[in-house]
Amino acid sequence: MEPPVVAAPPSGEPGVLRRNAVALGFLLPAAILLTVMVLYPTIYTIIRSFFGKDAHEGFLPSGQFAGIDNYKSLFTTNILVTAIKNSAIWILVAPALVTAIGLVFAVLTERIRWAVAFKAIVFMPMAISLFATGVIWHVMYIKDPSQGAVNAAIGAVKSWVSTPGALSSASPSTPALTGSPQSGYVLQKPVSAGSTTLLGLTAIPPTDVPSGAKQVATLQPKAGAITGVVWRDFKPGGGVIGKPEQGELGLPGVHVKLIDSSGKTVQRATTGDDGSFTFDKVGSGSFKPGIAASTFAAPFGGVSWLGSRLITPAVIIAYIWVWAGFAMVVIGAGLAAISREVLEAARTDGATEWQVFRRVTVPMLAPVLSVVFITMLINVLKVFDIVISIAPGSTQSDAAVIAVQMWRQSFGGVNDFGLGSAIAVFLFLLVIPVLLLNVRRFRREV
């Protein structure tokens, strides 16, 4: 027979002990990992930032005490100051843009049927590594418009607005034509109706000769008109300069103009396949024919996105491409939680869509917007992969942000662990306000 069972007191001594032991067992692996790999390193790095280049022994910094020297160089070395400035630009621009674009997408997708597909497309870059994103955008940003898609698009829009010149490198073959590529070239000696003019050009590589160019025309004077040719005044094996000959090509598509004695342009024309042009009904007086500057306009050579001036905006654009989807999804979830009745009530009261957005939607979304904004703020401080993979070697220093320089100074050849630690601590100090915010939010919940 067993003795009568007495129920153990629910919070007796042995119970508490056992529970503590259980808790310890469950927490131990996490505690060990966090202590060794996160807590100890954090403290180590703080101390290390006051020591010299390779002041390490055992598990602690030692020797080479450097005071605040590392912090001094952080704020005085040129490339590091550039990095801090770049980080400041990132902080000011990226989180706000990501949040704003996410908000716009979230609001707009609410009104379409294919929102799921749209969201999947915009959200997809989140799955791709920031490093691969960098490779993707490096390809997009190549300067040559025949290879870089961004510049190809800009070039297409530009040539749609104003066609590039047919002959960007040409120059006159005789001193009879004066001027410059910027102003165009004009025949020095005035002519009158019924005369013919020869406008010879050289320095045109064979590849630049417009397609469809034919043997240069033989000129016939025409009553009341000024006729002429623009031709490539060059023949392999020689030839007479200033004279159209057999075997020399007329230049089609060249813009020619006629200037009167007062300097005003009175007529314009475009040359035909054999290089000929005609100004009809010119009237009396003397005129100077010439070639318009637009003929010599250089073709669009591409914006130098990866150059030192634009590299940071270029990387930020790629970053927005990645994170807009995140903002859109989180804000979209917040939007779905807003009661339809509130929005409908505002609409019934006669508010326009913009007023509803500005006065109802945005204020009600404020908590979500701030979560997205703060998340992006922390994220922006740590941005690394995307910068070093987009920026080519020549502009790495121009593009570098704090996190990039932390790696470069510590492991990228310089190997100054003291300075590297100081940069890491600086980064850590920047996220501390967010850390405090998180802790406060949690303590309010409990």
Partner: protein, 298 residues
């Protein structure tokens, strides 16, 4: 419009046609919106497609053509770069290493964090709230703070340039978020279920394995996807903690110096590195979004 409806018959407003008319007018009003969003979608799709098409061009075709030439001349596309990368470079090896790091770096933190999350949620012990506050504080510590000391530690304990070392690093820095996410999910499990299991005499470990893990599966799934993508896509940690045992990101990174001439390796290799994360993403998008919403503070 109302008069027209009135003419149609004795009933003043016929509901369906009224609705159709309104629908049509609303659809027309929305056309600019559709066009705009379609344009945006195209804009977002373009860069990835661009890399893909670039990876299909032979080096000579790449130099003379933009990748968009493939639209007008599909015959330019070839898988030659892919077979070249697969057969003559180390990319397959580094893909395998990447997979090992990502799988280990996903499983280990989930196990460790689930144990800790359970303790934080359901076992009372002194100082519990303070310890959890500490975990929340660690949530935003930049991993740059650990690179130098852990580099020393790894050299001392021969973990430098090992897959396990990389897994351990990703585990540790994934833990705060993982514990935070799982504890918050576990705490929502109804108390009655746990109490009755305890009264039935089930041990804490048994409760953990039989109740908490199955019930916490949605949160664990979100976490797994996050952690997997994070470790798979890492560059910085591997760049510092490994030299020869490198994942694919580091491998491609070392090719970047010759971007122009190596594009026939860089483009297909980058695309290969994206396939698995993209697959995971599309297969488990729902969990991914849930995870985002649960803890967008990291």
């Amino acid at each position: 419009m109302a008069t027209y409806e009135a003419d149609a018959g004795p009933i003043v407003i016929t509901d369906p046609s009224e609705r159709t008319a309104a629908k049509i007018s609303r659809a027309v009003a929305k056309t600019p919106l559709h066009i705009f969003l379609a344009f945006v979608a195209l804009l977002w799709l373009m860069p990835t497609l661009g890399l893909f098409f670039t990876s299909l061009l032979s080096p000579t075709d790449y130099i003379s053509n933009g990748w968009w030439k493939i639209f007008s001349k599909p015959s330019l596309a070839t898988w030659a770069n892919y077979s070249n990368v697969w057969n003559t470079t180390d990319i397959p090896t580094s893909l395998r290493i990447t997979a090992e790091i990502a799988i280990g770096g996903t499983l280990l933190p989930i196990i460790v964090a689930a144990l800790a999350g359970y303790a934080f949620a359901w076992v009372e012990f002194p100082g519990r709230d303070w310890l959890f506050v500490l975990v929340i504080a660690l949530l935003v510590v930049p991993l740059q703070m650990a690179l130098i000391p852990v580099f020393h530690l790894y050299n001392t304990f021969h973990l430098y340039d090992t897959i396990f070392g990389l897994i351990l690093f990703h585990t540790s820095f994934g833990l705060p978020f993982a514990i935070f996410l799982l504890r918050n999910f576990f705490i929502g499990i109804p108390k009655d279920i746990l109490e009755s299991a305890r009264i039935d005499g089930a041990s804490e470990l048994r409760i953990f394995v039989r109740l908490i893990l199955p019930l916490g599966l949605p949160a664990i799934a979100s976490l797994a996807i996050f952690q997997f993508l994070w470790t798979w896509n890492d560059l910085l940690v591997a760049l510092v903690m490994a030299r020869n045992t490198t994942p694919i990101t580091v491998d491609i990174f070392s090719q970047l110096r010759q971007f122009g001439s190596n594009i026939d390796i860089i483009a297909p290799a980058s695309f290969l590195s994206m396939i698995i994360p993209l697959g995971v993403f599309f297969a488990f998008q729902r969990y991914f979004v849930q995870g985002l919403l649960a803890g967008s503070v990291k």
